[in-house]
């Protein structure tokens, strides 16, 4: 009975799709093409619409009253997540959606895994992804980082092959192919040379420049104090992070990932084995109001970015004593960084690389109109307060502009047009990403703590986590060195090129 009714409804809808054009054609023929949009008479046609609306409402009420309809007297919030899922990804930034995409890409049957991405703020007002400068580089000192960046650049080169959706516009990342330029002083030049050999060995296309070569290539640089420079030739540059996030999201949703707007406020451990606990049920709170939904899940992925440490604490990881394995907290905390947009009409031209000075200052070109984006890393002692995203303009005057004007004399005359602040998901342990599973909680996976280079490593890191979940082991890139084990064993793997 209900099947017949549903078929009847579908047929009516399909009929409407094909007849609507004919009705409008008939109307145009009778009244002429100019009057199609504007109906000047106030007589019969308005009353016809009124009765049509009433009839439609009556039909809907009758259909709801018949058995088999989904009407219920209690208004259930349609935005609640489903009650059961296979994998819950906490965090809807580029890392979370990348993992969701790769999970769906690697499942071998259609709808093999049910994936939910829980994001608490769909406007992304505090998310690190959209507030980032959007650069990608291979000039790291750790081989794992170089591999991740190279694989992500390969992904972005063929992005339409991976993330193209049928019948939709192709993905446009607005990738600028200028490279990164790192400047080293006398003290750190040897580190740069070692890094250079590691990078060449892994396969990055980098070249070293002496101060004279640097001056010849970029005449607008002041090379005082520079002993060596490292310049990326290929696969380096910057792009639009919002386009990448939306591309991942669109493709993942087209493959069946469910997006939920809500905040995870608790978890219930459903079984405690002798050396591990399993978090089984997540409590997802809706954004406005007190409603929540308990989501039963098999696997939880923590991709919450700057707020991962707080999330892990809330999920009860560090409720155990501090010196046990189960009590090791996740060492990720938010750190605020400022980015200033400046306008300088006499600045360097189209070939401006993403310049990073040894003093911690960086800048890059933005657009074609003489605008640049600049910033600097503050010292450990003067870390700004992370309770809000207010911009401190005094920081620009004190720390950024002097270094900028020293390095590029043309920037002595500039104007700050805009500024914003964003959070780094700063790994206080060793400033490198944590990719892998938790040794005690059996079904919790991490993809966080990238300390400023999460966006550029997101495609490859998402693939690594998806391989770990679905295949049990890393298949394409070996990321065991970036696992949680190093934090428990207190063996930091330091990256010597962080800004």
């Amino acid at each position: 009975m209900s099947a017949w009714r549903r078929l009847h409804v579908k047929v009516r809808r399909a009929h409407g799709l094909f007849t609507s054009r004919r009705v409008t054609e008939q109307y145009t023929w009778m009244y002429g093409p100019s009057t199609l949009g504007q109906n000047l008479s106030t007589g019969k046609p308005l009353r016809n619409d009124f009765f049509k609306a009433q009839l439609a409402a009556m039909r809907k009420k009758a259909a709801d009253a018949l058995p088999g309809s989904s009407w219920s007297p209690f208004d259930i919030n349609p935005n609640l997540p489903p009650e059961r899922a296979d994998i819950v990804i906490i965090g809807g930034g580029v890392m979370g959606w990348s993992i969701a995409y790769w999970l769906k890409q690697k499942e071998r049957v259609r709808e093999g895994v049910k994936v939910i991405v829980v994001e608490r703020d769909l406007t992304y007002s505090q998310a690190s992804t959209v507030l980032s400068a959007g650069g990608i580089r291979q000039q790291f000192s750790l081989p794992e980082n170089i591999h991740l960046s190279l694989a992500s650049a390969d992904f972005m080169r063929n992005i339409n092959e991976h993330l193209g959706v049928l019948n939709e516009d192709p993905v446009d990342l607005q990738f600028n192919q200028s490279g990164y330029l790192f400047l080293a002083s006398e003290e750190v030049a040897h580190i740069m040379e070692e890094n250079y050999s590691t990078q060449r060995q892994v396969g990055a296309k980098v070249t070293l420049l002496s101060p004279t070569q640097l001056k010849e290539k970029f005449p607008w640089i002041n090379t005082d104090g520079v002993a060596l420079a490292s310049y990326g030739l290929e696969n380096e540059g910057w792009f639009d992070p919002w386009s990448l996030l939306n591309a991942f999201r669109r493709k993942a949703m087209s493959m069946g990932v469910i997006q939920c707007c809500g905040e995870v406020t608790g978890a219930v451990a459903c079984s405690v084995v002798h050396d591990g606990i399993t978090a089984c049920v997540e409590q997802v709170q809706m954004p406005k109001g007190l409603e929540y939904q308990m989501v039963e899940c098999a696997i939880v992925v923590n991709a919450a970015g700057a707020f991962s440490g707080k999330l892990a604490e809330m999920l009860g990881i560090s409720s155990n004593p501090k010196d046990t394995i189960a009590g090791t907290p996740v060492p990720v905390e938010p750190r605020k960084r400022y980015i200033y947009v400046v306008h300088c009409p006499d600045g360097p031209g189209l070939d401006t690389p993403f310049l990073i000075d040894y003093s911690g200052m960086y800048f890059r070109r933005e657009g074609l109109g003489g605008n640049y984006i600049t910033g600097a890393s503050p010292k450990e002692a003067d870390e700004p307060d992370t309770s809000n995203l207010e911009v401190d303009h005094q920081f620009f005057e004190d720390s950024v502009w002097p270094r900028l004007a020293y390095r590029v004399p043309a920037f002595e005359k500039l104007k700050v047009t805009s500024a914003w602040a964003g959070f780094y998901d700063y790994n206080t342990f060793d400033q490198n990403g944590i990719i892998g599973d938790h040794p005690v909680i059996n079904n919790m996976y991490f993809a966080t703590g990238f300390s400023g280079h999460g966006l550029q490593q997101s495609p490859a890191a998402g693939r690594a986590v998806a391989e770990l979940i679905l295949d049990g082991n890393f298949k394409t890139l070996d990321m065991r060195g970036l696992g949680f084990r190093r934090i428990m064993a207190q063996e930091p793997i330091l990256e010597r090129n962080i800004l």
């Binding site: 516009d169 600028n176 192919q177 074609l368």
Partner: protein, 250 residues
Amino acid sequence: MAASCKSLYRCCQQSVCHLVARKLSSSRSVSPPPLHRRILLFLTQRFYDLEMLLSWRGQLRRKGIMRKNAYYDFTQRLYGSDIAAAFYILSLKGGFRFVGQSDWFRADQRGKFNWDFLNHKDTPLEEVDMSYTVINYRGLDNLEGQQSLRTLALRGCPEVDDWFLARLHVFEDSLEELDISHCPRITTGGLAALRNLKGLRRLDLSSLPGISSPGLVVILLEEMLPQCQIIATGYDYSIKQHGGEEEVQR
């Protein structure tokens, strides 16, 4: 039944041609698509089979291009990298000229070419013309070893994009003339990658649909490459001012 299936498949082929062409050009048209494409879209959103067929067609086309641009490893091991590069160019229906020779080796419309180029072993290539071929980023694997390449013509190549231009840094010492006109996938970000080609003397950028403000881009490129002559025809440089129009044509 078979006839209707065949006609449906042919209809899909034509529609996908239109879809692909529409995707390449900027899809800012306001008019609704024609009826057959709307039917195809309607059916694609309701049937997995049709969606799969259409996506397979796209994948097969891409695989075909990848296969054509594969690395000619076997030829390289038997005859050396120069002959391998020459063979690759002729297989893609391009043309080239050896260093020290004055005549060009080309493949005709049907793909047939003269095998005399095998007589010139270990002679590097000086000028390469790959206009209107499907060369892409992977295809540059075959040309990477050519250190004496002076001219590269890539007019109207549909697969040449910004990443391809970034990889041209391997010819930074020798390349003097580059023609990338009429390539639909090149944007301003890729033109910034030409900064490494310091020996460039002649650059042709005519009619690139991907560049938004061609006049400004040409000025910035002239500043970036001071010794290079830049040719940029086929753009509309008219300046539209508020309350009047002033045309500046090159």
